[in-house]
Symmetry: C2
Subunit: 390 residues, 2 copies
């Protein structure tokens, strides 16, 4: 394991800096999201990635001291070759299968780092607002860390998320409203009793944890990034994290200046970032009455909207929407063609690839990576009588 080469934090909005020895959450100057910055000179001299398995191989580029590194088998998920490219007439297509993580979703990465950092810096209790998977991941890591956790989730989330989070002994508070209302409740609790708030972009650890997806893809592809990355986007931490991962790898000399075009996928019934991207805006207005079967995409307002939209534009990317019906249908298509049964959010990536392949925006020379952000097993209620036509 490498030592963390963390040097300081920098605000993603106003570029103010902050030190690393306290459990700070957001920018002390403007309240914006903090991004971790590293001594890349030190990191270059270190061995990155370290041998072994999982996200802590990258601990030189993570803000977690050794004492905070909880081991639940997070990361090093498979990048699986598929026949999708041949079928759609695009280049070779892989699926990064994040269901192999603890609690069966990519949320494990961010929570491993956020909770590891919080524990190492003295947090005594935790709180998180979540539309689903983040709650379960937080609950598992909080249990492993021995820290009490309170979760605020919308009252209408599928039972699966509630049951799983409670199994880990998290206190689950069901809220009438969406993730944004849950966020307000979590923030109020943090201010009231000092619980550390793990909300997306409200602390710097979750972006750092998700960054390891970008590191792994680069390594798994022999440090030759794909031409197109398609990513399902709720709050957008993943988009920001992937972009940051590639910048850090370039600074270390592991990759060159080439970047994939990033494709952000949202549900057509909850697409605040897509709307902002298409309107040429740098910030996103909240989406009213957002609703979709893909709980991870039911995010009406992103606190990191400026960072997400900026990364997408710098990549010469695209922002597309898909319908709930398409997600359900493409989940079954992906399952029967590849042996990977994705969550609706993962299926949305395949639907987007089909759309962009038909438009010609993804061509035969474009190698594509789709993200399956989690397991379909928490969403089985969506396919109650699923049979394939003969």
């Amino acid at each position: 394991m490498s030592d963390s080469q963390l040097s300081h934090y920098e605000c993603g909005h106003c570029a103010a800096t902050a030190g690393m020895d306290e459990l700070i959450a957001t920018c002390p100057a403007c309240g914006g999201p903090l991004l971790a910055r590293y001594d890349l000179q030190g990191a270059r001299a270190d061995r990155i990635p370290a041998p072994g398995r999982g996200i802590w191989r990258w601990s030189g580029l993570l803000p977690v001291p050794e004492a905070g590194r909880i081991e639940l088998g997070t990361g090093d998920t498979p990048l699986l070759p598929t026949t999708i490219g041949a079928w759609l007439g695009t280049g070779a297509t892989w699926i990064k299968d994040e269901a192999a993580n603890p609690t069966a979703s990519f949320k494990a990465r961010g929570m491993a780092v956020a909770i590891g950092r919080a524990r190492a810096l003295g947090a005594r209790s935790l709180v998180v607002p979540s539309a689903g998977n983040a709650a379960c991941a937080a609950a598992a890591y909080a249990a492993a860390a021995g820290l009490p956790l309170t979760v605020f989730m919308p009252a209408d989330v599928p039972d699966s998320f509630r049951i799983e989070a409670r199994a880990y002994a998290a206190r689950v508070e069901l809220v009438d409203g969406l993730i944004d209302e849950c966020g307000r409740r979590a923030q109020a609790m943090a201010e009231r009793d000092g619980s550390f708030n793990l909300a997306t972009f409200r602390e710097p650890g979750r972006v750092e944890g998700k960054k390891t997806m970008g590191f792994e893809i680069a390594e798994q592809m022999g440090w030759r990034l794909p031409e197109v990355l398609i990513y399902p986007t709720g709050g957008g931490t993943g988009i920001v994290a992937l972009w940051k991962a590639f910048e850090e790898l370039e600074a270390l000399g592991l990759i060159g200046p080439e970047r994939p075009r990033l494709v952000m996928v949202q549900a057509e019934t909850c697409a605040p970032l897509v709307r902002a991207f298409e309107a040429g805006n740098t910030q996103a207005e909240p989406w009213e009455n957002g609703a979709t079967v893909a709980d991870g995409l039911r995010v009406p307002k992103s606190f990191g909207d400026r960072l997400v939209l900026g990364a997408l534009r710098r990549s010469r990317g695209r922002a597309v929407t898909v319908s709930d019906g398409q997600m359900l249908e493409y989940a079954r298509i992906m399952a029967s063609k590849t042996g990977i049964f994705p969550c609706p959010e993962g299926a949305a990536c395949l639907a987007a690839q089909v759309k962009l392949a038909r438009e010609g925006w993804i061509g035969p020379e474009d190698r594509v990576v789709l993200f399956n952000t989690g397991s379909a097993l928490k969403y089985l209620h969506l396919w109650p009588n699923s049979t394939h036509p003969d």
Copy 2:
């Protein structure tokens, strides 16, 4: 990847041998279960394990030619340290977390090998009887292999298994009866239309695939096996497979003659192998009206009973039963103490460890490995209103 060093098959009952170029299933002489035998001289010269990831690192000791190796990210699951040993007064205790496999269970290993072998040797269609997870794993690999699959499962299996198997386009036939009746239906179909039957011990691939759990544990523990392995046992393939894995590793010189004591765990309401073990029998009578919430343990009769009981006795092991109530309770205890929410079968291992620690059969000097054979996510119906007491 190594070449397979398979040399022939040998009957586990009568020791008759059979060649390796045809898709044979059971012993041509007596109908018993076939075990794969390797040219260990050749294997020793080869590089085992090969670098990389997953079960195909061990392909020198698997009966699958390169053309049959389907890649869904099977194997190399984490061996997670826990605080259970300190809590129970046993030695250090790890959990081998098989939920990280494709389709979230250990069944992926056996199906990867069985279906890979079947495809490479010319199978055109597949059939499998299953109490749950095996159907889902077979369906995923059949989809990836492009082979049609028919599943026979008890009509009262939880919806989760049925929905998941169908998502992969498997044809699911629901049967009034238990796994043994499903087995008869599958065998009849195989005889009728030539579909290759993937039933446990009815073909040699599944034992070989599960063997990789033993290989991985040995490697992950630095080739120093634990003193006690606790394994939830339905048909018993895993017990046979672990024992075979250790024999092969010793023949290769990777470990010495030391062996863990194997603990077999069954449900107290369906415990044919435990009953036979305690009675000193070499074979097990079928259990009448077996029922348990742990679908993987609802196996009233094992076709490999002689092999399972033999391996358990040679290891100086134990056979214990736990109740359904204990499984549900220990799943929540494991989740809240370790961050790993196990399936009921995995929870049964912790319940068994508690029992054997109290008896003193597992002591402070005994390092213990528990198997969590799959994810709790297919069993969430068992904890509908789960809350932990404050």
